[in-house]
Amino acid sequence: MRLAAAAALTAGTAVALVAVMLGVWWAPFVVGIAIGIAFPRARIAIPVGAAAGFLAWGLLLVADQILYGLGPAAQGLGAIMGFGRQAAIPVILTCMVGLLLGLSGAWLGCAGRSLVGPRGGSHLLQWPREGR
C-alpha cells in the first residue's frame, strides 16, 4: 500500500506539475479526484492528493527561486496583498492553494467513489488490503 501510495504521489505530482506549468492551475484538483477514486481509503487518498497538489505548486516555486530568486517577488506580492513586505505569506499562501486543490479533489473523489460502489467494488484500481 505504501508503495502504491508513493507511486500515486509521484505520478500525480508529475502530471499536476506539468499541467500547472502549461497554465492549467487547477490540475491538482483533477489529479486529486483521480487519486481519490483510485484509493479506497480516505486517510490515504486525501493526504496523497494534498501532497501532490502541494508539491506540484511548491516545486515550481523552488524552481523559480533557483532560476530567478523569489525574494523580491515575494516581498512585492506581500506588499500588494497588504501584509507589508512579508515574503513568507505569499509563499505559504501559494503552497496552500496547491495543497487545498489536491486535498479537496482527493476528498471529492473518495466520497464519490464510496457512494457509487462498495469498498473493493467496481472501481478502477483495487489495492490489496494490508494485513489480510
Binding site: M21, F29, G76
Partner: protein, 847 residues
C-alpha cells in the same frame, strides 16, 4: 441470534454507512466548491487564487520579468534589425536603421517595462478605470468622459494625414506595444497587476497615445480657478476679493520677460473693472463643480502652486564657456515614475532624455546641438460659461441670439462587479456641460482643442538651432509650457509656448455668460507671447511665476490664484544674478537649494518685532530663528518655527474673515495668494484688519478703509506666541528638538495606490517655496526629473526619483530614489558609451 435480526442489524449498518457516505459526499462537494470558488473567483479582498498564484503563469512571473539578460527577439513590423542597450540602471538606448523602427522599438521597450502604467493612463483618460477596479473609479470615469479627452484624441487622430510623420510614429509605436502584448500573452507572462486584477490588456492604438498626452495636459492645465473666484466673490464681496486675489501679483516677483511688449492695436487690455454679480444659482453651480473636482484622485486636476524649475546660463557667464541648462519639472512623484529614460538614434533622430510611457519621443532632453526642458506656464486655459436656458426652450441654450440644441453624446461605462453605467454628455458651443445644479455651466478648456503637439515634439527633437526650436513651438497648444533652451554655440532662450485664450469681453477669471459676448475669440499671436533669447543678463529662468510684468497688455490669468507665488523664481534669480561665473556644479546645487526666499524676507522683520518682548522658551525659539540661514533642512528647528509661524500668521489674519463672511472655500486652499498679500503688507509694515473692527457700513470695503488693526509688531508677536505653544504641544518643550524632519516628510507613492509599495514616508528637506520643492505633509510632489547640461564640457547629467521598471520585484523599481534624494546625478551616456558600460545588457530586435 436469529437470522432476521442479524439481517436487520446489517441493513441498519449499511443504511448508516450509506447515510454517512452521503454526508461525506455532501461535505466534500461543499469544501471542493468553496476551494474552487476561491480559486476561480477570489474571496473577499483576495483575487482569484488559482490563476493569481500559479507559480508558472501567475503573479510569480514577476520574478522572471525582473531578470534582465541578453536577448534576441523577433518583433512583427520591424523593417531592419534594431539594437537595444540597457545600462545597469535600466536606462535604455535604442539604435535603429529607420525612423519607423525607432518608434516601434520605443513602443516595445515602454511596454516591456511599463505596460500596466500605460494601461492605467489610457484608462484614466478614456473613462475606463471602473471596468477593472469597480465603482470606486466611477466618478473619475464620468468626469473624464464629460471633459472629453477621448473625443479630442479621436479628432486629433482623424486630422492626421496618412503620410504625416506623427501618424507614422504613432502607428509604429502602437505596433511595438502590441508586439509586447502578444509576447506576454503567448508566454503567459502578464505583468503582475493584470494578473491580480484579473484582466488582459487590449491592443494599443494611436488614440491611446494621444489620450496619455491628454492626461498630462489635464493634470497641468485644467482647473477650477474661476469657480473658486466666484465663490470667494459671493462671500467676501468684490472689493475684498479684488484686493486679496488681484489680477497682478501684489508681491515682488521676477518676470523673466520684463518687456517692453509689442502689441497689436486691436488688443483691449482686460482689467478688473466693476465686478459682475455672482447669483445664487451660479454660486451653487460653482460649489457643485468645485466639490466634485476636489473629490477626484490627486493629480487629475491642476492645483494652485504648481511647481517646476528651469533655467539656462549663456556661455559668457559659464566657467566652461559653453551654455549651461538645468531643468526639474515638479509633478506628483510616483512609483513607477511618470518618466522613462532613454536615448533614441535613427537616421532622423539623435535624442536623449525622458519621455512618458505611452507616447513616442523625448519630451525633455537634448540632441546633438540643443537641449531643452519645461515648466508649466500656468496661464489660464480653463474658462467656465453659464448657459442661458428657460423653460420655454427645453434642451436648448441661447447663444448669439439663437436658441440652440445641446449636442448629446452617449457613453457606456463598464463597471467591474456591477451594472454598466450609461452616461449622457451634453455639449454646448463652449464645451461639455459640467454641472446642471444651480445654473447649467459648461467648460471651455484649451486641452480640448485638437492639436498636433506630438508633431511639435518631433520638431524639437530634430531642431539644431534656436530658430528651428522656435518654429517647432509655434504649433504647441496645451499645456502651455515655459520651454527653456540652450545650445552648443552658447545661446540660451525661453519661450512660454501654448494657447493663450482671449475673450472678446467680460471677466474671464469668473464664470462668464454663455450667450456669446464673452466667447473665446482666439489666442495671443506667437510673436507676442512671453519669450526671450540671449538676454543681456546672460541667464534666464522660469519657476511657474507670472512671466511678464503688469504692463503686459494681454490677459493671461489671475495673478495670485494660479501662478506660483514667485519665491522659487526669486531665489533662482538671486543665485544666478550673483557675480562670477557659474558651473554645472552650481546648477546642481541650485536644484537642491533649500533656501526659503519668503523666510529671507520676513524673518528679519519678525526678529525686529520680537526684540525685547520674549522670555524663556519663546526667547530660545527666537534665538534659533535669529541665527538661521533660511534653509529648510531636516535638522533645522528654526525651519519648523518659521513654517509654523507663517501658517499661524495667515490663519490669524484671515480665519476671522472666513468665519464672519461664511466663505465656503477652505482657507488653506488659498494660502498661496493670501500669503502673497500678507507678504506685500508686511514689507510695507502693514497688517490685515480684523472684521469685528470694521463697522457694518464699511465692512464690504475693508481692509482698504481705515479701520483698527493690530500693528505689525503686535500681530507678529501674537502669531509667534501661538506658534511656540503649538510646537510645544506637538514636539515638547525644548525648541532645539523641533526639527523640520520631525514635521516634514516625503513619500513617493505607488501609482496603483498600494501603500506597501510606496517609498517612505521619510524625513526630507525643502518646502513649497524652495527650489527643491517639497510641498505638503507628507510631501508627495516635487522634482520628478533633474537634468543639468554643460555644453562647454559636453556633459549631460540627470536622475529621477523612481526606476525604469514598474515591477516591484525588479532592481529597477525604485533604485534611483536614493540617488535623487541625496542630490546626486548619473551621466546620460550615448548608446556607444552605454554598450561598453559595466553591467550593460543587449537586446537584438529582428524583423
Amino acid at each position: 441470534m436469529p437470522q432476521n435480526v442479524r439481517d436487520s442489524g446489517w441493513l441498519k449498518l449499511r443504511a448508516m454507512k450509506g447515510a454517512r457516505s452521503k454526508v461525506n459526499l455532501v461535505a466534500a462537494v461543499i469544501v471542493s466548491a468553496a476551494v474552487l470558488y476561491a480559486a476561480f473567483f477570489g474571496a473577499g479582498p483576495l483575487p482569484p487564487l488559482g490563476p493569481t498564484f500559479n507559480p508558472a503563469t501567475g503573479a510569480w512571473t514577476m520574478a522572471l520579468d525582473a531578470t534582465i539578460r541578453n536577448e534576441t527577439l523577433r518583433l512583427a513590423g520591424l523593417e531592419q534589425p534594431v539594437k537595444v542597450t540597457l545600462e545597469s540602471d535600466g536606462t535604455t538606448h535604442i539604435v535603429a536603421q529607420t525612423d519607423h523602427d525607432l518608434f516601434l522599438a520605443t513602443g516595445y521597450v515602454h511596454a516591456r517595462f511599463r505596460l500596466f502604467q500605460m494601461d492605467l493612463l489610457r484608462r484614466q483618460g478614456e473613462g475606463r478605470l471602473s471596468e477593472v477596479v469597480g465603482k470606486a473609479a466611477l466618478e473619475s470615469d464620468r468626469f473624464e468622459l464629460q471633459l472629453g479627452l477621448l473625443r479630442t484624441a479621436q479628432l486629433e487622430w482623424s486630422a492626421l494625414a496618412p503620410d504625416h510623420r506623427a501618424r507614422k510614429a504613432l502607428v509604429a509605436y502602437s505596433q511595438g506595444v502590441n508586439d509586447r502584448i502578444a509576447q506576454v500573452e503567448a508566454d503567459h507572462q502578464l505583468p503582475v497587476m493584470f494578473t491580480l486584477l484579473g484582466y488582459h490588456p487590449r491592443p494599443w492604438t494611436p488614440i491611446d497615445s494621444l489620450i496619455v498626452k491628454g492626461d498630462m495636459t489635464q493634470t497641468l492645465n485644467f482647473n477650477d480657478t474661476p469657480l473658486v473666484m466666484a465663490l470667494l466673490q459671493q462671500s467676501l464681496g468684490p472689493n475684498l476679493t479684488g484686493q486679496w486675489f488681484p489680477l497682478v501679483p501684489p508681491n515682488p516677483q521676477s518676470p523673466y520677460d520684463p518687456g517692453p511688449y509689442a502689441t497689436q492695436p486691436s488688443v483691449v487690455p482686460i482689467v478688473a473693472t466693476a465686478a459682475q454679480p455672482i447669483t445664487d444659482q451660479a454660486a451653487l453651480a460653482a460649489a457643485d463643480v468645485h466639490q466634485r473636482l476636489a473629490a477626484l484622485p490627486a493629480g487629475l486636476v491642476a492645483t494652485t502652486g504648481g511647481a517646476s524649475n528651469n533655467w539656462a546660463v549663456a556661455g559668457a557667464k559659464s566657467t566652461n564657456g559653453g551654455a549651461l541648462m538645468a531643468g526639474d519639472p515638479h509633478l506628483h512623484l510616483t512609483l513607477p515614475a511618470i518618466w522613462f529614460q532613454l536615448s533614441m538614434d535613427s537616421p532622423g533622430y539623435h535624442t536623449s532624455g525622458v519621455g512618458i510611457p505611452g507616447t513616442p519621443g523625448v519630451l525633455i532632453g537634448h540632441n546633438q546641438h540643443i537641449s531643452w526642458s519645461l515648466t508649466d506656464a500656468q496661464n489660464q486655459q480653463t474658462f467656465y460659461y453659464l448657459e442661458h436656458e428657460d423653460s420655454t426652450h427645453p434642451g436648448q441654450y441661447l447663444w448669439n441670439g439663437v436658441w440652440r440644441k445641446y449636442t448629446m453624446v452617449a457613453y457606456d461605462i463598464p463597471v467591474h462587479g456591477g451594472p454598466t453605467e450609461h452616461l449622457a454628455v451634453k455639449l454646448s458651443v463652449h464645451g461639455p456641460v459640467i454641472t446642471e445644479r444651480g445654473q447649467t455651466t459648461s467648460v471651455w478648456w484649451a486641452g480640448n482643442i485638437p492639436s498636433q503637439d506630438l508633431d511639435v515634439l518631433m520638431g524639437i527633437n530634430q531642431a539644431a538651432d534656436y530658430q528651428a526650436f522656435r518654429n517647432a513651438l509655434k504649433g504647441w497648444y496645451s499645456p502651455t509650457h515655459n520651454f527653456v533652451y540652450a545650445d552648443d554655440r552658447g545661446n540660451i532662450g525661453l519661450i512660454s509656448a501654448g494657447y493663450y485664450p482671449q475673450v472678446a469681453a467680460g471677466q474671464p477669471w469668473l464664470p462668464m455668460a454663455g450667450t456669446g459676448e464673452n466667447d473665446i475669440i482666439g489666442t495671443i499671436p506667437f510673436d507676442y507671447i512671453p519669450q526671450a533669447y540671449n538676454p543681456p543678463s546672460n541667464f534666464i529662468w522660469s519657476a511657474n511665476q507670472r512671466q511678464v510684468t503688469a504692463d503686459y497688455p494681454y490677459y493671461i490669468g489671475t495673478g495670485s490664484n494660479f501662478f506660483n507665488p514667485g519665491y522659487r523664481s526669486n531665489e533662482i534669480k538671486r543665485v544666478l544674478s550673483q557675480t562670477g561665473k557659474l558651473s554645472a556644479a552650481d546648477m546642481m546645487a541650485l536644484q537642491t537649494d533649500t533656501r526659503d526666499f519668503l523666510a529671507g524676507e520676513i524673518t528679519p522683520i519678525l526678529m525686529q518685532a520680537l526684540a525685547g518682548a520674549l522670555t524663556g522658551r519663546d526667547q530660545q525659539a527666537a534665538d534659533l530663528l535669529g541665527a538661521w540661514d533660511n534653509r529648510m533642512e531636516i535638522s533645522s528647528a528654526a525651519a519648523t518655527i518659521w513654517w509654523t509661524f507663517w501658517q499661524e500668521y495667515i490663519a490669524q489674519s484671515f480665519d476671522p474673515w472666513w468665519k464672519a463672511k461664511k466663505v465656503s472655500v477652505d482657507r488653506s486652499e488659498l494660502n498661496d495668494p493670501l500669503g502673497q498679500y500678507l507678504e506685500a503688507l508686511a514689507l510695507a509694515g502693514k497688517t490685515v484688519c480684523a472684521p469685528p473692527n470694521c463697522t457694518a457700513a464699511v465692512a464690504s470695503a475693508c481692509p482698504s478703509v481705515a479701520c483698527e488693526r493690530l500693528s505689525l509688531t503686535l500681530a507678529f508677536r501674537k502669531a509667534f506666541s501661538t506658534t511656540t505653544a503649538k510646537l510645544t504641544r506637538q514636539f515638547g518643550a525644548d525648541p532645539k528638538k523641533w526639527t523640520w524632519g520631525r514635521m516634514h516628510q516625503r513619500t513617493v507613492e505607488n501609482l496603483a495606490q498600494i501603500k506597501g509599495l510606496d517609498y517612505g514616508p521619510r524625513p526630507d528637506r525643502g518646502d513649497a517655496n524652495t527650489p527643491l520643492a517639497a510641498p505638503g505633509f507628507p510631501s508627495t510632489d516635487g522634482p520628478s526629473w533633474r537634468m543639468v547640461v554643460d555644453w562647454g564640457a559636453g556633459t549631460f547629467q540627470a536622475t529621477y526619483p523612481g526606476g525604469q521598471s514598474e515591477n516591484p520585484a525588479s532592481n529597477w523599481y525604485s533604485d534611483r530614489v536614493d540617488t535623487w534624494w541625496n542630490g546626486e546625478y548619473a551621466a546620460m551616456l550615448t548608446s556607444d558609451q552605454a554598450a561598453s558600460s559595466r553591467g550593460a545588457k543587449a537586446w537584438s530586435l529582428n524583423p
